[in-house]
């Protein structure tokens, strides 16, 4: 059981955390024909936009209410109205997803009220899907923005279903956390479909940010789940929530439409996937396809091959709670020691991380802990690159943002196959580091007269 502490520093150095509103916009990006809109100054959007573009190497739709100083003080009704009208007229979206920011929350804009007025004033918008989520920058983190936004989508967009109404036994809702990549979602879709089930992903980033070439140029998202499909999610037999952050949305779904849910806090590693595959077999009434029996065997073999390298490694990991829990648990199960764990925001999974202490802090904290505790494997997002080069230890990039390597959208961690490739990648990093930096020399093991080693062996 880990103790969760919060950094006491006044100055955050090398932040691990990103802001809540862009986590919200990120969720809207998994909807088809969507335009995420931040109610704030134009920089709020432009920073987030740049980050997403650098991560995915894709055009990313995101707009701003472009609040000026005066508008901020007087209140942003007109800006929200103009922004919605402009987006509606120019980009012909299927939905506009609005998140507030620190600027407009400090003023206290009542955006729900604005939207009601706007709908009254402009009849063409009366039924148009507008989803608003309050996500001030000065609270919580990226993951929380995603969590709240997906939950709100369920509350607003899913049609209520009366108790006792017939359900489609083959339909499954999947509510993925923001720690999963488009590649992960595609992998899950394949697995679920192989059991004869029909999944609806909310949000579905694999439809919009997987890099495919669209048929039409559109300034909105080029794919993802449609508003029409979301409306019918209440008819599904089950909801699968992935990551503790998705419990809130799963509960909202259950409340609104009575769909029972099963929460999978992790999908990386052997045991979690056994559970997942067994669950799919159970709800579909089908035996586990031979393909997954083979993949399970391959993962088992990969674990055998890689445990020599991963076992005993001292891991320093910085990630948002669900990704931290997922990866650190898998590595703990592979024999690594979770020596330093830093995260961005509170979560019920943190105390169950297999380590002494989880710190809600920044990458400076992680770097210092990694150094003090002699860590020899670093996992965090791309902003860890400076720390990695100073620490001179193998560095695996995971999470968002990953702007200095390609293929971020396709990096896998879920499923037997995803875990298999992940442990190979990690073990190969360790091997490469040993070859490059820890070759034995004639003096590596030489002892002094007093029988003490001159240099402690560095052969990890």
């Amino acid at each position: 059981m880990a103790i969760v502490t919060t950094s006491k520093k006044a100055c955050s150095v090398n932040p691990l955390k990103m802001s809540q509103p862009i986590g919200g916009s990120f969720a809207f990006m998994g909807l088809r024909g969507a335009m995420p809109l931040l109610h704030g100054s134009q920089g709020c959007t432009s920073f987030g936009l740049t980050l997403f573009v650098r991560h995915f190497k894709e055009a990313v739709p995101m707009q701003t209410t472009a609040m000026s100083e005066v508008a901020t003080v007087l209140g942003g009704y007109e800006n929200v109205e103009q922004a919605i009208l402009n987006i509606y007229n120019r980009t012909k979206p299927e939905i506009i997803g609005i998140n507030s920011t620190g600027v407009t929350e400090t003023k206290g804009d009542d955006v729900e009220g604005f939207i009601r007025l706007i709908r009254q004033k402009h009849p063409q918008l009366e039924k148009f899907p507008l989803v608003y989520v309050s996500t001030p920058d000065f609270k919580d983190a990226f993951q929380d923005g995603w969590e709240k936004t997906v939950a709100r989508m369920v509350e607003v967009l899913v049609d209520p279903v009366e108790a006792g109404a017939a359900r489609d036994a083959a339909r499954v809702n999947v509510l993925p956390g923001c720690h999963l990549t488009p590649g992960d979602l595609d992998e899950l879709r394949t697995i679920i479909e192989d059991f004869g089930l029909k999944p609806s992903f909310l949000p579905d980033l694999a439809g919009s940010l997987d890099g495919h070439i669209p048929d039409e140029f559109t300034p909105t998202t080029i794919g993802g789940i449609g508003v029409d499909e979301i409306a019918t999610m209440g008819q599904a037999a089950w909801t699968i929530a992935i990551g503790a952050q998705m419990k809130r949305a799963a509960e909202a779904m259950q409340q609104r439409s009575g769909v029972p849910f099963r929460l999978f806090e992790r999908l990386c590693g052997l045991a979690p996937n056994d559970e997942f595959v067994a669950f799919l077999s159970e709800i579909s009434g089908r035996p586990v396809p031979a393909k997954y029996r083979r993949q399970r065997g391959q993962l088992a073999d990969a674990m055998l091959d890689t445990h020599f390298h991963i076992g005993g490694r001292k891991l320093a990991i910085g990630a948002e709670p669900d990704l931290l829990f997922d990866l650190s648990s898998m590595l703990h199960e592979m024999g690594a020691e979770v020596a330093a764990a830093v995260t961005t925001t509170a979560s019920p999974v943190l105390e169950r991380i297999k380590t002494q202490e989880v710190l809600i802090g920044d990458l400076e904290d992680l770097e210092e802990l990694a150094k003090a505790r002699d860590c020899d494997l670093l996992i965090t997002h791309s902003h860890g690159r400076q720390a990695a080069s100073r620490l001179k230890i193998p560095f695996y990039r995971a999470g968002f943002p990953m702007f200095d390597r390609l293929g971020a959208g396709h990096q896998l961690s879920v499923g037997y196959r995803g875990t298999r490739d992940l442990v190979f990648d990690l073990a190969n990093l360790v091997i490469a580091d040993r070859e490059a930096n820890h070759q034995p020399t004639p003096d590596t093991w030489r002892t002094t007269d007093s029988g003490l080693q001159v240099v402690p062996p560095q052969l990890h």
Binding site: K9, A10, C11, S12, V13, N14, P15, K17, M18, S19, P21, I22, L37, G40, S41, Q42, G43, C44, T45, S46, F47, G48, L49, L51, V53, E58, A59, Q63, T64, T65, A66, S68, E69, A71, T72, V73, N79, Q82, A83, L85, N86, I87, R90, G102, V103, T106, K107, P136, D137, F138, K139, I213, P214, D215, E216, F217, P219, H383, Q386, F403
Partner: protein, 555 residues
């Protein structure tokens, strides 16, 4: 201590700005901040602009006072290169929380400054104001002053919260902070007649190092570069330079002009993009230094270096000429880079089919016209669809642009090259132009394109999405061409003023109905040009094209 709004007004009054000089008093007051359109804006904020301008100072701790969004979402995102300290790449922010919003963030800021000094001991700290603390009234000037006194170290307030305007304004506000708090506060160990400042150069991808060896060879010392690979102390004594070169035309003109005014440092506006530009800039530096007392033989040495480097570069570019024959380039980029790159591309035999002038000043546009002839096809506000069509119609073989439009070209399976700040190659000086040609050649002749343009075996050649898109566009065009009514409607529907969404038809009707003859008249009746004013030129053209109004009485 002047207030932020006074500083902004002062910046708007910049007499060194050519665009500003052409404005009326009232217009100038309104400022050069393009009025932002909710739901239709794209650029960065004033804080972003300030940070971009100052972050390349490498040994300074850049501390951002605000909630996590401002710094957490944006740090370590620029490709400037440092020859020394890496402190500038570390990120410092107060990460304000709810309690700070309620009780004020000044104490946290003060503590943060203390922590940074204790842990990293930088020669100076730049403290950036953002929207939220500006709203709740955190006085960063007072906190910085108190901290500077207490810790005996320069703590510089950079007052440029995001919501005061766009990036461009932030650049200038950053410059104001330097002028007010840093420049002139220290003295160099020694000076030489060959000391210059470079202003508005960020050393992206280390590109300034493609030029610096030439200056070194000439014995010209860069006393301070503002701000690429800059150091705090150099900045503090930059007022002792003999001359200055201003590189990025819009970013920091206020710094160059005020340093001329206060310290008598003459400056010129130049560029090291392109061969001719590089030579002109070297000459201009030598000329200004000689004017300020450097020995005249500097010019002879400069000419010798120019002759040698030009010969080398021309020789290197020669081999691209056959490869670039009949190849067309679509150039989409803003400001200074447009005109300086145009010349270089033409030197290599490439034909330019367009260049964006969205961010260029009037003067920039004139320069492009001068270089490309009167019929320069300048593309304002081209939509992705139009850009695609232009590429696809094979009117262009390659697109050069900044990061954001790249996907249009790439998804159309067309070669594309990044020439904006995210680029990974350095394109400055004589060497840089050769590198640019190499990169263009690599992109143009990559065998991959042929494969990518072929449809999948199970797709009909005629029904892939590209063909469909083209057919749609062609069908629309044909329909319009065949139907004069439709054609007239399409012509009249052309957007003239993007801010106020006014089309050509509305303006023509207003001109006819009220016999208008001036932009102001058009504005009064249609609201066109009532926003950023960028469409004024277009409205002037429309007015000029109208039959002369018989009477002005109606106006």
């Amino acid at each position: 201590m002047s207030s932020l709004s006074a500083t902004i007004q002062d910046v708007f009054n910049e007499p060194g700005c050519g665009k500003n000089a052409n404005k009326t008093e009232a217009e100038r007051k309104k400022g050069c901040t393009k009025q932002l359109q909710p739901g239709g804006a794209a650029g960065g904020c004033a804080f972003d602009g300030a940070k971009i301008a100052l972050q390349p100072f490498t040994d300074v701790a850049h501390l951002v006072h605000g909630p996590i969004a401002c710094e957490g979402n944006s740090w370590d995102n620029r490709g400037s290169a440092s020859s020394g300290s890496d402190l500038w790449r570390r990120s410092f922010t107060t990460d304000m929380n709810e309690t700070d919003i309620v009780f004020g963030g000044e104490k946290r800021l003060y503590k943060a400054i203390k922590e940074v000094i204790e842990k990293y001991d930088p020669p100076a700290i730049f403290v950036y104001q953002t929207c939220v603390p500006a709203m709740i009234g955190d006085d960063i000037n007072a906190v910085c002053k108190a901290a500077a006194t207490k810790f005996g170290k320069p703590v510089i307030p950079v007052n440029s919260p995001g919501f005061v305007g766009p990036k461009n304004l932030g650049n200038k506000l950053a410059g104001e902070a330097l002028l007010e708090h840093v420049i002139g506060t220290e003295e160099p160990d020694y000076t030489t007649p060959y000391d210059i400042n470079i202003i508005g150069e960020y050393n992206l991808s280390g590109e300034f190092w493609q030029v610096k060896p030439l200056l070194d060879e000439l014995g010209i010392r860069i006393l301070s570069c503002i701000s690429g690979d800059g150091k705090y102390r150099e900045l503090a004594y930059s007022h002792r330079a003999r001359a200055a070169m201003m590189v990025c035309s819009k970013a920091m003109i206020n710094v160059a002009r005020k340093m001329e005014e206060r310290y008598g440092i003459p400056y010129f506006e130049g560029s090291f993009y392109g061969i001719q530009d590089s030579s002109d800039s070297l000459r201009e530096i030598a000329r200004l230094l000689i004017e300020r007392g450097a020995p005249a033989e500097l010019m002879d040495r400069t000419e010798a270096v120019i002759a040698r480097e030009e010969a080398k570069a021309w020789a290197a570019i020669e081999r691209f000429k056959p490869r670039f024959k009949d190849k067309k380039v679509l150039l989409i980029t803003g400001g200074v880079k447009s005109w300086s790159v145009v010349a270089a591309l033409q030197e290599a035999g490439l034909e330019i089919v367009g260049t964006s002038v969205k961010k260029s000043t009037k003067e920039d546009k004139e320069r492009i016209k001068e270089l490309m002839g009167q019929d320069a096809h300048m593309i304002e506000d081209m939509t992705p669809r139009e850009m695609y069509k232009m590429l696809k119609d094979a009117r262009a073989d390659i697109m050069l642009s900044g990061g954001k439009s790249q996907f249009v070209a790439l998804k159309a399976a067309m070669p594309w090259l990044d020439i904006n700040q995210e680029r990974s190659h350095a394109y400055m000086g004589y060497i840089g132009m050769v590198t640019l040609m190499e990169q263009i050649e690599k992109a143009l002749y990559n065998p991959m394109w042929a494969q990518l343009r072929k449809p999948a075996p199970w797709d009909d050649a005629g029904v892939n999405w590209q063909t469909k898109a083209m057919e749609q566009m062609d069908a629309q065009a044909a329909e319009i061409a065949a139907d004069p009514v439709l054609a007239e409607a399409a012509r009249r529907a052309k957007k003239i003023c993007h801010c106020k969404t006014v089309d050509l038809g509305t303006i023509e009707d207003a001109i006819a109905a009220h016999g208008l003859s001036s932009v102001d008249g058009v504005k009064e009746h249609t609201n066109a040009s009532g926003g950023c004013g960028a469409c004024k030129g277009r409205i002037e053209d429309i007015l000029a094209a109208q039959p002369t109004p018989m009477l002005q009485a109606a106006e």
